[in-house]
């Protein structure tokens, strides 16, 4: 068995059945081993697509996503995907080929210092120096990717190690030690909760990563404490939970943002006080004591000084701090705010109103549909107006905000969950950033549904130019977009364009009922903005809203 065969064998030992990648010189031995090695490989059409497909695979299943690339340009093309996984704490193992050991440092063909490049965009990275290291490094890579706060790990493997003899390795089965909860902190937390008049749960992506969704829901059921969530936590709380107000922050719901400002106890669960959530930090939940529960100790007191913090497993902590406060007035107030500030879908005229269309899609799509969003206004409309009831079903590039994420993430999710409907919601700008992945959809005949919301603009940037840059629309006008339906048809993907409201219902049916992939191209006005908006530098209760 050579090193490359050993890598495939080690992947299988980690229960990997599917990888995403793109071949090239320095990784050819591994591709040779993959040829009949018993692990499925999906050829994406750009290494960034492979990294994002691995992310979609990981996020839709909770498993580790694996991507593979060659040295030099292959590895540099992975970088954006690794950064995306780092900011969203997604378990990814990336394997790159490297030039042979004796050529490292000679500026050899397709040589880049990939280990050096990886330092700022991975949780950890390895360069394999000897055949003996291969086994332990692969095992550690999977352990690091999944443990604590998950993240991407890169393994750079020189070609000579891939072709040379391998060294047998027995998995060390790294033991997991869980320390007991600190009972003082638990009782102090319970005291704060039971004394609070206006407690609020601020739920982040860490809940899904810790697989603590059911513990969170039980906590909410038993305490009836009102809640808000971050972009990455959408799906953790059932959308129709009585006192749940939806997303908080820059484009959060008005009720959420007002509740944050009014609460007297903020319970942050797997959340990290990101600037898109807090707005002006000094004024965020100004009157609240804070209980911060997060597995990453470096998040504690990073941006907000807290009253109590615990870094234990959320599955353990949440049941332990469950206590029911008496907060009828606050609950009443939350219910009223939910009604007063409910989303509105009345919209004059024939042109399509994207929020209403997305709402209608959410109401008609099959249960357990996975939504993969791209980045921009359409992404915020998805977050505000669609609803999903599992975090695995809402996949959005949250921390990095990476345009081009939607389609490759949907590829990965569809491969992972072949029997579920997967919908990529994209924008005309984002769609073009990884358009080559239509080739991947064609290759596997993946039944990915694409909903393309076309405002002929880089809409989110246009919105800021309108509001904060005196309407100077610098380089955001895309009236020269290609004909998207024709473009899709070149990849054997059928599709249609709709422009008026009366076309929506039937078109959504055709999208959802198509056996294979489908493109629904929706033309909307460039003037629609995302509301409400907490302007940069403002506190969360100073939201701008739609006029008229």
């Amino acid at each position: 068995m050579n090193g490359a065969n050993f890598v495939v064998h080690a992947l299988k030992e980690q229960n990997v059945t599917q990888v995403f990648g793109y071949p090239g010189g320095a990784i050819m031995p591994l591709y040779d081993a993959l040829f009949d090695g018993g692990v499925d490989h999906l050829l994406c059409r750009h290494e960034q697509g492979a990294a994002m497909a691995a992310i979609g695979y990981a996020r839709s299943t909770g498993k580790v996503g694996v991507c593979i690339a060659t040295s030099g340009p292959g590895a540099t093309n992975l970088i954006t995907g690794l950064a995306d996984a780092l900011l969203d704490s997604i378990p990814i193992v990336a394997i790159t080929g490297q030039v042979p050991t004796h050529l490292i440092g000679t500026d050899a063909f397709q040589e880049v210092d990939v280990l050096g490049l990886s330092l700022a965009c991975t949780k950890h990275s390895f360069m394999v120096e000897t055949a003996e290291q291969l086994g332990p490094i692969i095992e550690q890579a999977f352990e690091i990717a999944t443990s604590g706060r998950p993240g991407p790990v890169l393994i750079d493997i020189p070609k000579d190690i891939q072709v040379g003899p391998s060294v047998a390795y027995a998995l060390a089965q790294l033991a997991d030690t869980q320390k007991p909860l600190d009972q003082n902190l638990i009782s102090h937390s319970k005291l704060l909760i039971s004394e609070a008049k206006k407690p609020l749960l601020y739920v982040g992506g860490g809940v899904g990563m810790a697989k603590a969704v059911s513990e969170l829901r039980t906590f909410i059921e038993q305490t009836q404490i009102p809640s808000v969530c971050t972009l990455k936590a959408i799906g953790c709380i059932q959308h129709d939970s009585t006192y749940f107000m939806g997303m908080v922050g820059m484009h959060g719901s008005k009720a959420s943002n007002l509740a944050i400002q009014e609460c007297d106890l903020l319970i942050a669960v797997g959340a990290r006080f990101d600037d898109r959530v807090t707005g002006k930090l000094d004024e965020f939940a100004q009157h609240a004591k804070v209980i911060h529960l997060d597995v990453d100790a470096a998040e504690i007191d990073k941006l907000r000084q807290v009253t109590i913090s615990m870094t234990d497993d959320l599955k353990q902590v949440l049941p332990a701090i469950t206590v029911q406060p008496s907060i009828e007035q606050w609950q009443q107030h939350i219910s009223e705010m939910k009604v007063t500030h409910a989303n509105r879908y009345d919209h004059p005229g024939e042109p399509i109103f994207a929020p209403a269309l997305l709402r209608q899609l959410a109401e008609t799509m099959p249960a357990d549909t996975v939504i993969c969003s791209d980045v921009g206004q359409h992404q915020m409309w998805v977050a505000q107006h669609m609803f999903v009831d599992r975090p695995e079903n809402h996949i959005s590039s949250s921390g990095l905000g990476t345009m081009g994420f939607g389609v490759p993430a949907a590829v990965g999710a569809q491969v992972a969950r072949p029997n579920d409907t997967v919908i990529a919601v994209s924008g005309d700008g984002s769609f073009m950033m990884n358009i080559q992945e239509l080739g991947t959809i064609k290759r596997k005949q993946l039944p990915v549904k694409i909903l393309l919301i076309d405002n002929q603009r880089l809409g989110m940037v246009r919105q800021w130019q309108e509001l904060f840059f005196n309407g100077r629309f610098s380089e955001t006008i895309l009236t020269d977009n290609p004909d998207f339906v024709t473009l899709a048809s070149a990849f054997d993907i059928p599709g249609e364009t709709i422009v008026v409201k009366s076309q929506i219902e039937q078109a959504l049916q055709r999208l959802l009922n198509s056996d294979g992939p489908y493109l629904l191209h929706v033309s909307i006005s460039e003037e629609e903005n995302v509301w409400p908006l907490v302007p940069p530098g403002a506190a969360n209760d100073q939201m701008m809203e739609s006029v008229g």
Binding site: L115, G116, L119, A120, K123, H124, M127, I144, D296, A297, A298, I300, D301, K302
Partner: protein, 83 residues
């Protein structure tokens, strides 16, 4: 504000790069550094300067894979350490 830390880490070829990157990125400039490698262990004595709380750095360093211990030795508001 200057702070002096000692750090023990498993030796790896890129370890110093990792350490220096985290310091710079988190807003701490290096005033002095001394590193020795013995029996697969890297021992570092490091003085950094920043307006930020030193715990913002030590918590990030605790997370670096390979770092075994981070100990805060001394802090001084105005004494300028020599490099």
């Amino acid at each position: 504000m200057n702070n002096t830390l000692t750090i023990e880490a498993k030796h790896s070829p890129e370890f110093l790069e990792r350490l220096l990157r985290v310091c710079r990125h988190r807003g701490f400039s290096i005033v002095s550094i001394n590193a020795t490698i013995e029996q697969q262990l890297t021992h570092i004595e490091l003085t950094v300067s920043s307006d930020r709380e030193i715990t913002l750095l030590t918590k990030q360093l605790d997370k670096v894979i390979g770092i075994l211990t981070v100990t805060l030795l001394a802090s001084s508001g105005n004494i300028k350490a020599s490099a």
